[in-house]
Amino acid sequence: MSFLSGENMTGGYGGADILHDCTIGVEQGEIAVIVGPNGAGKSTAMKAVFGMLNIHQGSVQLDGEDITRLSPQDRVAKGMGFVPQNQNVFTSMSVEENLEMGAFIRRDDFTDTMAQVFDLFPILKDKRRQPAGELSGGQRQQVAVGRALMTQPKVLMLDEPTAGVSPIVMDELFDRIIEVARSGIAILMVEQNARQALNIADKGYVLVQGRNRYTDTGAALMANPEVRKAFLGG
């Protein structure tokens, strides 16, 4: 069993089930990527791991502990960080305040963590006093990731972090994400840009209609002709 794992998850948003017996996991220091066609339940699978929807079968484990019944807030306290796809920054607040809010549950001194985030994303240090709503799309994503890192999570979950940013910014962002993973954090992310994402992935999950279709290392999936043909455009 992985460090973070959702086992045999079945469930949905109250109506029909979207996930069927879906299993996803990631180890510390590794990057796991969920890819698949539109409507495959990629984001749903991630939200299930984070406790944002009800699963009536299966379980979620973090570091050997069963967290299936915990609320998202409690999972944050347990060391999980989540970066939503949309509206993932406080637009009216400055970059620095965004990071402070990320550290809201911490009662200790978090200046070191903030310095680490600024080291990771130097541009944010220059713009620390600017409202996050005035930043460019790529910079906003950096704020969003930085906010999630402020709790010093053991797991970082990213829902399509590169949606709507230019290819150059995307490469830059992926580099940063690799850097975060190297520091020992487990990273689970959903990506629309499957090819680039699998390139940096230690592990890849291809979902179709809420079920696991292929699960392998990123490199192996990239090499698999069926996966290439069906999901990576040849």
Binding site: Q73, V76, A77, F82, P84, F90, M93, E100, G102
Partner: protein, 337 residues
């Protein structure tokens, strides 16, 4: 030249000073409405009656203090009673939240349901206030009435026109500055204040960051209670206290909050002064002012009043309509469309 100076003094006396005081009162009232809107996402129709309740509590404590012979003359005794009034109002609003709004929050009810519930709360508060203190006018200002009287001003300066400056006006303006400074310090510098702004900005993300919504809501009601009591007491000291007047204040207060941008504290302050000065300038009789500035035989016979004071609410309404037509988000871009 003397004419120009005299007419300026005249305007100061009847427009500038009263407008500043009224504007401060509206601003503090509108801050309460805008904070509740920013966090709970509904226009609180009970705010006027919350102000009435708070003021009533202050008046009762003032009477008690007066009966005991406690006084801080030349300042009004009501200032001493204010903290007790605030405390009573905080208790009232927290109970209201617990008994009324919390249920609808859990239900995730539509904003209009909160609106109607606030109307029900308004009804009850109105009844409570009238039941306890009666529907009539109450004056509770004591201490020195004027900082400077018109007659003294004339004697000191030798001018034709005097500027009177009431204690209540001076007090209002000073209190408003202190309250606004304290509120902005709280919102921008403290952890709790920032968590309020974060929650108002993006509820879901605030939840993800571990901000406890019930706590944010509680702080909001506490602030709203303090602001309502302060605004109500200042208004009552400046004019007089009558429950129905406080209900009617709802319209200019809402107009102030919307003009500035609902949910935006800075906008509420600007809106308060815009509404207050529009009201005062439109309902002021310009006869004497024109007499100073026109040749003697041009001087008008009529009062030269643009709008009778009976229609002062129409001023708030017209400004409100203009804002809704031209820029529904308000001058400072509030949250709502």
């Amino acid at each position: 030249m003397d004419g120009a100076l005299n007419s300026f003094l005249l305007l100061s006396n009847f427009v500038l000073v009263p407008g500043m005081a009224y504007g401060s009162q509206l601003a503090i009232g509108a801050l309460g409405v805008t904070l509740v809107y920013g966090i709970l996402r509904f226009s609180n129709f009970a705010h006027g009656d919350t102000m009435a309740f708070g003021t009533m509590a202050v008046i009762l404590v003032t009477w008690l203090l007066q009966a005991w012979g406690v006084s801080i003359s030349p300042l009004p005794t009501a200032l001493l009673a204010l903290p007790f009034g605030i405390l009573a109002t905080i208790v009232l609003l927290l109970l209201t939240d617990r008994w009324v709004y919390r249920f609808f929050r859990r239900e995730k009810a539509a904003p209009v349901v909160f609106l109607i519930a606030s109307v029900g709360v308004m009804f009850v508060m109105n009844g409570v206030v009238r039941f306890i203190i009666g529907p009539n006018d109450q004056r509770f200002a004591d201490g020195e009435r004027f900082i400077i009287k018109a007659r003294e001003f004339k004697r000191l300066t030798g001018m034709n026109e005097g500027v009177a400056f009431k204690t209540s006006q001076g007090l209002t303006i000073v209190t408003a500055v202190i309250v606004v400074a304290a509120l902005f310090w709280f919102l921008n510098r403290t952890r709790a204040g920032k968590s309020m702004r974060a929650y108002s900005d993006n509820e879901d993300l605030a939840l993800l960051s571990g901000i406890n919504p019930e706590r944010v809501v509680m702080i909001t009601w506490i602030l709203a209670a303090a602001l309502a009591t302060i605004a109500g007491t200042l208004y009552g000291l400046d004019k007089s206290f009558k429950p129905f007047t406080y209900f009617q204040l709802l319209l200019p207060i809402f107009a102030s909050a919307i003009v500035g941008g609902l949910g935006n504290p800075l906008g509420a302050i600007a809106g308060g002064f815009i509404i207050a000065f529009s009201e005062v300038t439109v309902t002021y009789a310009y006869k004497k002012f024109l007499a100073y500035n026109l040749p003697p035989d041009w001087a008008p016979d009529s009062l030269m009043q643009l709008l009778s004071t009976d229609y002062k609410f129409a001023v708030s309404f017209v400004i409100l309509v203009l804002v809704l037509l031209i820029r529904p988000t308000g001058i400072f871009r509030g949250k709502a469309i």
